[in-house]
């Protein structure tokens, strides 16, 4: 989220692609409604389903799943044709918009109507309304990302915003609504297969920086791995780890340091809500050891037929421990401990520490919490400190190390102060009042220094860097094919000493760029660049000059290191429009994609799926639950609201198959899996589509597995997991499953 929920109140137009905040972020949605009331803001919703959000919209387009790119190109086509783009902004701050213009020219409203199913009139109406009401904010969520072209979708949306000059403005921006409460934070913390914390990546240099910051030798870390090369390769992802498990039948090649997976440790992750449940079950069944740490019984434990070595550990809930959480707008809050862990449960970190002790790396593992930066840019163990305090010392360790996204200012003390004084902040801007003046609520990152107040809106050049202003990041060189990649003259954060674009700040270039001279001590103390500068001198100097440490560059519309340099439409692997597949084919199959060969074109071209499986299937969230839903299904009042799994189906479609409201039906996937669910008539879906929530588990392909729960742990509601029938398909870059565009066949049960 580049801006914040409160900031949406400043929008003149809100366009939502594939998100349903009224259901998924109900409290956040109040800011949308207030924008409508206070600001006469126009709410536009583009979704395959008439959602609760759509019910509040001024304009709504019912789009075919997986065709957001054509829709947005259609919008750009109209924008460019009418000259509605912000030319000055594009010239000064965007690289490669001409290529977008070329592609957009192909997507006339008529072509878009054919591909997306949205009438040309509606597209024109929406584009006009959105382009004429600025600033406009663009919202998206899983509706854009969960596609084979998810990455392209998420590039397309900012491009649309860039063309209209909506990026980096209050009331504008691309506001991605994150799902789980700390998915932003956990991602920032690099709980990922392809990066170290803080998006440092997996390059040797990054490992060396972290080794140093953690107080261990780089060689020590290398020794833990098979060899150094495996440190720099992506691991298995949540989406496809099962492919790597021993004895799992698959023709997809695995490259995992010469071994299959034999053990799985899951800490608070509802893996019964991930695509390809049948394969996940196969993966679980073939493990040597399965460890599940969760406050409730992770339903993977009852899904698997594995008879031995399944450990379930009672982890404490987040209310029984404390720590920092990051909301969707990048702001930090302190989650105080409410009660001591109930029953025998233990907080996650204690389980990890206990395991680390038994595995022999506890001291090295926790050493980072005992360290601090010295003034001369070195790291040292805090004199006299032998014990750490959880979580404050960990918070400070993170603040000390993660500089890429500017977490330097996120010390435990500051974040706690914000949470303690949450009444001192403004609802709309997040600006502090009284004693908290000069800071924004939760210090939204980048929070460059220990005194910086946070940056509520990313890429906003209308305010000084010290107050959260910045240009676009310089991350990909200074020029490409002879075109300047830095911002043009005149585009810079307010109050900057440099009134043009500039590169990211390094020890080498700081004197030249800022026009200053560093003293010898300073030079000796500071690191190679701002990202690894323990002394903080580089960032400090930048602040003094009103300069953003990461540079001031152009946003890239062209990404030359991705398979599609500009976002291109590609049909879903299982497309209902077989006639369009040849024109917009999927990617070539990709070897070693997070350690496993992943298929694209070979699946798409294998058969004409639409013949046998003519119905679109979309999945989504219910307001009553989140994620795999276990914690909500284990709450009695919530479970009573949605006691069973269901399928929203249009009466016309249902009656064609003889399915009555409230009776059971089968949903079959092209992979041969099936689920038995209750039909629920709904007009929110078109007659060629069904919708199912993804929060249920406990049943598998028609059989009740809830008997596998240990006594007294069965949740109050159970049902089929829709992800048993969501189709094969993974994003080309992130490997997110394609669950928002798939096909199925239904029949009466």
């Amino acid at each position: 989220m580049t801006n914040s929920l409160g900031d949406i109140q400043k929008s003149k137009a809100i366009i939502i692609f594939g998100a349903n905040p009224a259901v998924n972020h109900p409290v956040g949605f109040q800011h949308f409604l207030k924008a409508q009331e206070l600001n006469n803001s126009k709410l536009i919703v583009i979704d395959p389903r008439f959602t609760k959000t759509a019910a509040k919209a001024d304009l709504y387009a019912q789009i075919r799943p997986g065709t957001d790119i054509p829709f947005m190109y259609g919008m750009l086509n109209i924008i460019f044709k009418n000259g509605w783009e912000d030319k000055e902004y594009v010239d000064a701050r965007v690289f490669g918009m001409d290529k977008i213009r070329e592609e957009a020219a192909k997507w006339t409203p008529e072509v878009v109507a054919d591909v997306t199913g949205v009438p040309a009139d509606t597209l024109i109406q929406i584009t006009t309304l959105y382009a004429k009401n600025r600033p406009g904010t663009l919202i998206w969520a899983m509706g854009l990302t969960q596609h084979t072209i998810g990455t392209s979708n998420t590039r397309m949306a900012p491009i649309l915003q860039l063309a209209l000059g909506n990026m980096g403005r209050a009331g504008g921006g691309t506001n991605i609504l994150r799902g789980h409460d700390n998915v932003q934070g956990a991602t920032d913390m690099g709980c990922l297969a392809d990066s170290l914390p803080g998006y440092y990546g997996l390059a040797a240099g990054s490992w060396k920086y972290f080794a140093k910051s953690w107080g261990v030798d780089y060689d020590y870390l290398v020794k833990q791995f098979k060899d150094a090369s495996w440190m720099e390769k992506n691991g298995f992802s949540l989406a496809r780890w099962w492919a790597g498990v021993q004895n799992v039948k698959s023709d997809e090649k695995i490259e995992n340091a010469g071994t299959p997976l034999k053990a799985l440790l899951v800490f608070g992750n509802g893996i019964t809500s991930v695509a390809q449940q049948a394969k996940i079950k196969e993966g679980l069944d073939n493990l040597d050891m399965l460890v599940l740490a969760d406050p409730f019984v992770n339903e993977a434990a009852i899904l698997t037929d594995k008879k031995d070595n399944v450990f379930i550990l009672p982890a404490a809930t987040q209310f029984e421990t404390s720590g920092l959480v990051v909301a969707t707008n990048r702001s930090a809050q302190w989650r105080y401990k409410v009660v001591e862990p109930m029953y025998e449960s233990k907080p996650d970190q204690e389980i990890m520490f206990e395991l680390a002790k038994r595995l022999g790396f506890y001291d090295q593992y926790t050493k980072g919490m005992l360290m601090q930066e010295t003034k001369d840019g070195k790291l040292e163990t805090i004199p006299g400190k032998t014990n750490f305090t959880w979580p404050e010392d960990a918070t400070n360790e993170i603040a000390r190390i993660i500089k890429t996204i500017g977490l330097t200012g996120w010390t435990a003390e500051r974040v706690k102060k914000h949470t303690d004084n949450w009444h001192m902040f403004d609802e709309v801007s997040g600006a502090g009042m009284g004693p908290m003046k000069g800071e924004f609520y939760g210090l939204p990152w980048p929070c460059w220094t220990k005194t910086h107040g946070g940056s509520p809106n990313l890429y906003d050049t209308s305010i000084p860097v010290s107050e959260g202003g910045m240009g676009f990041r310089n991350n990909f060189g200074l020029e490409k094919d002879g075109v300047n990649l830095l911002a043009e003259k005149g585009s810079f954060p307010k109050g900057s000493k440099i009134e043009t674009g500039y590169p990211e700040i390094t020890k080498e270039n700081i004197e030249k760029v800022l026009g200053i001279t560093l003293s010898e001590e300073e030079k000796a103390a500071c690191g190679a660049n701002w990202k690894v500068d323990n002394s903080g001198i580089l960032v400090q100097k930048c602040m003094e000059a009103g300069v953003c440490p990461y540079g001031n560059a152009k946003a890239r519309a062209i990404v030359w290191n991705f398979p599609d340099h500009i976002p291109m439409h590609r049909e879903p692997l299982h497309s209902p429009r077989t006639d369009l597949v040849a024109k917009y084919p999927a990617y070539p199959d990709k070897a070693n994609h997070f350690r496993v060969m992943t298929k694209y074109i070979s699946v798409q071209s294998a058969q004409d799926y639409a013949k046998e499986f003519p119905i679109n299937m979309v999945t989504g969230r219910l307001v009553t639950m989140n994620g795999a839903g276990i914690e909500n299904r284990a709450s009695k009042y919530i479970a009573a609201l949605t006691p069973e799994m269901f399928c929203h189906i249009h009466p016309d479609l249902a009656l064609k198959h003889g399915i009555k409201n409230g009776t059971m039906m089968w949903v079959h996937s092209p992979e041969g899996t099936k689920i038995k669910v209750k039909a629920k008539y709904s007009y929110s879906v078109l007659p060629d589509m069904v919708f199912m929530p993804f929060h249920f588990a406990g049943y598998f392909q028609g059989t009740d597995r809830t008997g596998n729960f240990p006594a007294g742990t069965k949740p109050y509601a159970s049902g089929e997991s829709v992800n048993t029938v969501t189709n094969y398909g993974y994003d080309i870059i992130t490997q997110i499953p394609e669950t928002k565009g798939g096909l199925c066949r239904i029949e009466k049960a």
């Binding site: 994150r178 992750n269 109930m342 025998e344 595995l359």
Partner: protein, 186 residues
């Protein structure tokens, strides 16, 4: 639109009416008799008092979604007795959806997993923490030495705090594999 209206709009049942209501309730407390017809009844004489004596209020954050709503938990003798309204939280303004309003029920749920267990020969068996951790660690050690650290997959959580998520990633790094991920992938 003048600023007065702006404020009225933005705060809905805002602090002003909130206080007004508190004042009304206070007035009731202070009045001993309610001369009413037979349908009304004399209010019990009582002051505005705390139904949970000695309780303390803990500010914390909802775990349901990324909006980051404020939760005020009322705790008495180590028991979470009531969920209060975080009226002045700048994002949620006291609001909760059904999940957020039910956080207390989630924590106090009777169907929580209460102690470590292991499945052996298809039967669930209770374990002590020590046993469980020893057995898990031994298996991990064995796998690491025999097959390499990459034989193990770690899946962390977007429900963890930053510190936990960071230490989860760090755990995988110290164990020696990049096979670690979490829900951001779905």
């Amino acid at each position: 639109m003048n600023s007065e209206t702006q404020r009225a709009l933005s705060t809905t049942v805002g602090r002003r009416s909130f206080l007004k209501m508190a004042a009304i309730a206070g007035a009731f407390g202070a009045t001993s008799s309610f001369a009413g017809e037979n349908v009304t009844r004399a209010a019990t004489e009582e002051e505005v008092k705390n139904p949970f004596p000695g309780s303390k209020k803990v500010k914390t954050i909802c775990t349901s979604c990324s909006v980051g709503c404020g939760v005020i938990a009322e705790v008495q003798n180590g028991v979470w007795v009531r969920q209060e309204v975080a009226q002045d939280h700048p994002i949620s303004l006291g609001g909760h959806c059904c999940k957020g309003a039910d956080m207390i029920d989630m924590v106090r749920s009777e169907v929580r997993l209460k102690y470590p267990m292991v499945k052996e020969n298809g039967q669930w068996k209770r374990l002590s923490w020590d046993d469980a951790l020893n057995r898990i660690a031994n298996k991990l050690k064995e796998l690491k030495s025999k097959d390499g650290a990459d034989a193990v997959q770690f899946l962390g959580s977007a429900k963890m705090s930053n510190e936990q998520a960071y230490y989860f990633r760090k755990f995988a790094a110290f164990f020696g594999t990049n096979n670690t991920d979490h829900q951001a992938r779905i």
